[in-house]
Amino acid sequence: MATGPPNIGVGLRPTHYPYLEPRPPTKVSWFEAISENYMDTQGRPLTMLELIRQDYPVALHGVSLSIASVEGLRPPYLRNLRNLIERIDPFIVSDHLCWTGLQEQNLHDLLPIPFTNEALDLIVTHVDQIQTFLRRPILLENVSTYLQLPCADYTEWDFLRAVADRSGCQILLDLNNLYVNASNHRFDPYLFLEGIPTHLIGQVHLAGYTDMGTHLFDTHAKPIYPAVWDLFSTLIARAPEVPVLIEWDEDIPEFPQLEEEAQKAAHIWTKHHGHTHAQPIPTPVCSNLS
């Protein structure tokens, strides 16, 4: 059972199943599960997710929606996602603002999109199809990129905002990705932050990147860097109710170390807002859905 501060969650990873299975008290308020890890199984992973769900709110975070794919959405994927949603009753359903490859040549990566009107129209259409099919709003996350494409009609933050404004989805703002892109593509990260109205932000991700020498790489293999904590501090000062997630996907530490990162986020939150009663996990509202 959770005894932690408001709205700070961590990613549920198989490495931690043995620790979490006896249902120990933790310092986190919720868990985020990678949707695909539970969509095509009826084995132990799903059993574990259902066990966690008995004690915590759960967000489902996908990596395979490929919302910007010119080949369209995959109906079997959406059906399986909807089945999982019905089973788990998550408080957030999210994926990435990207494409992952072609249907017969899936690269399984979060690939960059040109910030053009053509891409915007396609994504808005797809968000509408998805939200109608799932009968609920989704959140889309900004991704780390290592190249930018020419002929952009928007900056990344303007594009993200336009997607949310036009489709009615919300933004999952990954501050690590924001910082990685700011460093790789040489823009001011605070300009990005100021460009996104807080009412569009439905969730925040925090993670650690790896410095490759030539560029920053989004590995989720390190503790969160001070510059990312600074961005978080700025954001959380004006968006106290937004759920925050600590992500760690490679060289995953023991669960207590993950809790320490969550505690750091809680400490920053408390610095701005003081000790208050636990906030309820908000349910995102989608204005475009009837």
Binding site: E36, N37, M39, D40, T41, Q42, G43, R44, T47, S64, S66, S69, V70, R74, P76, Y77, W99, T100, G101, L102, Q103, E104, Q105, N106, L107, H108, D109, L111, I113, P114, T116, E118, A119, L122, T145, Y146, L147, Q148, L149, P150, C151, N181, S183, N184, H185, M212, T214, H215, L216, F217
Partner: protein, 265 residues
């Protein structure tokens, strides 16, 4: 990208990511790319190309752990790269990648000293499928005895129950994975093996079957009645004795693989 539509860009990007080590990057995709950090347009595309190979290799390594162990890092990574570049993923789920890897190993035959490798890969793929199957509510042993055995009975088995057969003792090899290969005595790979894999209390179990047991279970799984399965098996194994049949039904009872019993009049 003045002349590229979104569709043209995505197809070109995928072709670039799947190209071989020595293949040239098509100049059209390089035009106007603003590379991140101190990368060049070409090396920024290489980040994605390498990432794709690494990710799919990891997925193969996770599923085919014993094949990796037998091959060693260097050969496994070489084989995986070759497979990844020639067998693009059509699954949305990364863990669904690799179904044709056993056939690939059969075709390229990378290690003549280890002829069992494709079968070992088949076993690992099967094991993964069984792991993700639902745990069924098995028939209580009391019920099984209450019904009694007669020729007209047909069984319905749990969805996790799968048979596996190989001319090599791949299950024994698989059990050794992760240990120090050099310290192990040379096992006898050439013992034919018949196995049943199933789930019980969320764990995957593997049991050896004799030839008659395998034949009986194969028929029963395909929907034959006990009588039909016995008739078929006696034809294949004329020396089948009553105690083998009795032991077989006790095995069915104890493993909990039966979901339901239907008595056909």
């Amino acid at each position: 990208m003045d002349t590229l539509t979104l569709s043209q860009f995505q197809h070109l990007f995928v072709r670039t990511s799947l190209r071989g080590e020595d293949d040239q990057i098509e100049p059209k995709i390089l035009q106007g790319i603003a590379a991140g950090g101190s990368l060049t347009p070409a090396t920024s595309l290489e980040v994605y190309r390498r990432g794709h190979i690494v990710r799919l290799t990891e997925a193969l390594g996770e599923t085919f752990e014993a094949v990796w162990w037998i091959s060693g890092d260097s050969d496994f990574f070489r084989l995986a790269r070759q497979f990844v570049l020639t067998h693009p993923s059509s699954s949305y789920n990364l863990s669904g990648y690799g179904q044709t890897f056993p056939r690939f190993l059969e075709d390229v035959c990378p290690f003549p000293d280890f002829p069992f490798l494709p079968d070992l890969a088949r076993f690992e793929w099967l094991f993964k499928q069984v792991f993700h199957k639902p745990q069924h509510e098995h028939l209580p042993p009391g019920h099984f005895q209450h019904v009694g055995l007669s020729g007209g009975i047909r069984f319905t088995f749990g969805p996790s129950v799968h048979l596996f057969r190989s001319p090599y003792s791949v299950y024994e090899v698989w059990k050794l994975r992760g240990t120090d290969q050099e310290l192990l005595p040379e096992p006898d790979w050439n013992t034919p093996q018949r196995l049943v894999c199933y789930k019980h209390q969320q764990q995957v179990y593997v049991k050896h079957l004799s030839q008659p047991e395998y034949s009986l279970l194969e028929r029963l799984l395909s929907g034959s009645s006990i009588e039909e399965a016995l008739t078929h098996t006696i034809q294949k194994c004329p020396d089948l004795v009553e105690s083998t049949v009795s032991d077989f039904f006790q095995l069915l009872n104890h493993t909990g693989i039966i979901l339901n019993v239907t008595i056909v009049s």
